[in-house]
Amino acid sequence: MTVLTRPETPPATRPASPPTRRRTSRREGKVWVPWLFLAPALVLFLYFKFIPMGQAVVMSFQDVQPYLGNSWVGTANYRDLFATDEFVAALWHTAVIAVFQITGALVLGFALALLLEGQARRLWFVRSAAFLPVVVPVAVIAELWRIIYYPTEDGIANQIIGVFLMEPSQWINSPDSSLLSVILVGIWRDAPYNMIIIIAGLVSVDRSLYEASSLDGAGWVRRVRYVTLPALRPVMVILLTLAAIRAMRIFTEVFLLTNGGPNGSSEVLMTLVYQLGFARNELGVAAAGSVVLLVATIVLTLAVRVGSKRRNA
């Protein structure tokens, strides 16, 4: 942006710039000024991000007993964690939710973006209406969908699938459909978010390519396939990464819709950590679970950073 503002500077000020710079450097010699402005943020980050993170790592190697004192147990918490069926199941459920929710939300978001791309005022209205689920608190959405999923024939979701001659489902109340129910809510909430970002990406697609493809006699299918999708690749990669990182720590939706049930059929990593930490008081094992989650987040983030850098180079 500095490049953009430079032409606005009258040429006459150019010769005057060296003394200005000297004054700047003398002023910026006050080393404590930047740190003064940064201090509130740094102190708060230390207290509520870095100290808890350090604590989590330490606790994950300890047998944590409030009031009795902690004792070192080495990697026992991690071994306990990976040895339990619950943890393996939770990992699996988290992965299933991530894969299907992310794919569903991306495909639906892309379809919505294609449909609602454009300048017309009518489209602007439809886009705003579709975006509402993104801004509404998750807790409200969960209560809303609990009503939609009401497991009788009169339930809204059952009436809708009834139109397509499907049998009524138990939705969140059955181990067979609990994961699917969580995934559908996730797609409903994430698709409009993806839509907005994809529409922003569509603006930058080169219009002359559309013209060229049209001169070649390509229809809209080939235009989308060979022009639009390749141009959206970077946007899709960002969306995919952010969604994957968010999906790993999915909590509120599951906690409120199914609370991991029935029979643990929808238990995810975070609901299990919460259970271990606050219901069963196994703080050390719960901390180990948090650390696993943290490491997974960091690995995923760095992998994408490195991957995208290599592609750009």
Binding site: F37, L44, P52, G54, P133, Y150, M270
Partner: protein, 288 residues
């Protein structure tokens, strides 16, 4: 052939009638699918039906009965708690963000790179991952030895420093022309004057962006209040929804009232600051 090459699908007024009708139908389905359930929630809060499986877009018999009953269930208290948390939290969050961003965007100093890296790192450490140690820290703040669990401050302070807000602000503050700052300094303005009367007024659109995102972020908090509040007197609205629903003495109508109260402020904030919202979401592409 008449083609619209402005969009990928080429939908527009030059399409044949059947295609335009199909597009309009698709748009109607989209509105119904995404906004419909939220409207039904609002309508349900004002209707007399007590069937827990029923939601309708059209009010059956309009009544304020649910709202009167909700008052008896302490819903106003939950609303007040939520408003206090979001009001104070957002104010502090924006203040901390602009201060930190001013330093990172306008100053060259040793260690700036590391600070930026640390701030990025905090964005990988959401409340969910830190849940357990965070409650331990909140129950005995290091050095200060204060216990702020089961209190509103306990739900506010961990949210005040927010990586996203700082990073967005840094991007905007970098764009403020140096010349403005130089001129003010020549007039003898001190460090705080430059920050307050030169840089800050130049980034008001950015204040809108971090304001509306911060509001949504704080209003949507669930994990943190869940960890902090144990006395129902300290519940925020989202937290109260679950206990209201689980209480057999509370009808679905009251739950709908509480849900509506939790939903409306975020929708109003979105509609009021839509431009800021869209700007932030497509430039930052970050959520969390």
């Amino acid at each position: 052939m008449n083609r619209n090459l402005d969009t990928a699908l080429g939908l527009g007024s030059q399409n044949p009638v059947w295609l335009r009708a199909l597009t309009a139908l698709a748009c109607a389905v989209v509105v119904l699918l995404f906004a419909g359930p939220l409207v039904a929630l609002l309508v349900g809060a004002f209707s007399g039906s007590h069937d827990p499986s029923h939601l309708s877009l059209f009010p059956t018999d309009l009544t304020l009965e649910n709202w009167r009953a909700a008052l008896d269930r302490n819903v106003l208290r939950y609303l007040a708690n939520s408003l206090i948390v979001v009001g104070i939290g957002l104010l502090l969050q924006m203040a901390v963000s602009v201060l930190a961003a001013y330093s990172l965007a306008r100053k060259k100093f040793r260690g700036a790179g590391i600070v930026l890296l640390l701030i990025m790192a905090t964005m990988m450490l959401p409340e969910e991952i830190l849940a357990i140690p965070l409650t331990i820290v909140l129950s005995d703040l290091p050095l200060l030895h204060l216990n702020i669990t089961d209190s509103l401050p306990g739900m506010i302070v961990p949210l005040v420093a927010w990586g996203f807000g700082i990073i967005v602000m840094v991007e905007f503050m970098k764009e403020v022309p140096r010349e403005l700052e130089e001129a003010a300094r020549l007039d003898g303005a001190g460090e705080f004057r430059v920050f307050w009367s030169v840089v800050l007024p130049a980034v008001t659109p950015a204040l809108g962006v971090i304001g509306v995102f911060g509001f949504t972020m704080i209003w949507d908090q669930y994990m943190l209040p869940l960890l902090v509040a144990s006395d129902p007197e300290n519940y925020t609205l989202p937290l109260a929804l679950r206990s209201l629903r689980a209480d057999p003495e509370v009808g679905i109508g009251i739950v709908l009232v509480a849900a509506t109260l939790a939903m409306l402020p975020s929708i109003l904030a979105f509609l009021g600051f839509q431009r800021s919202f869209m700007r932030g979401i497509s430039s930052g592409a970050i959520k969390g």
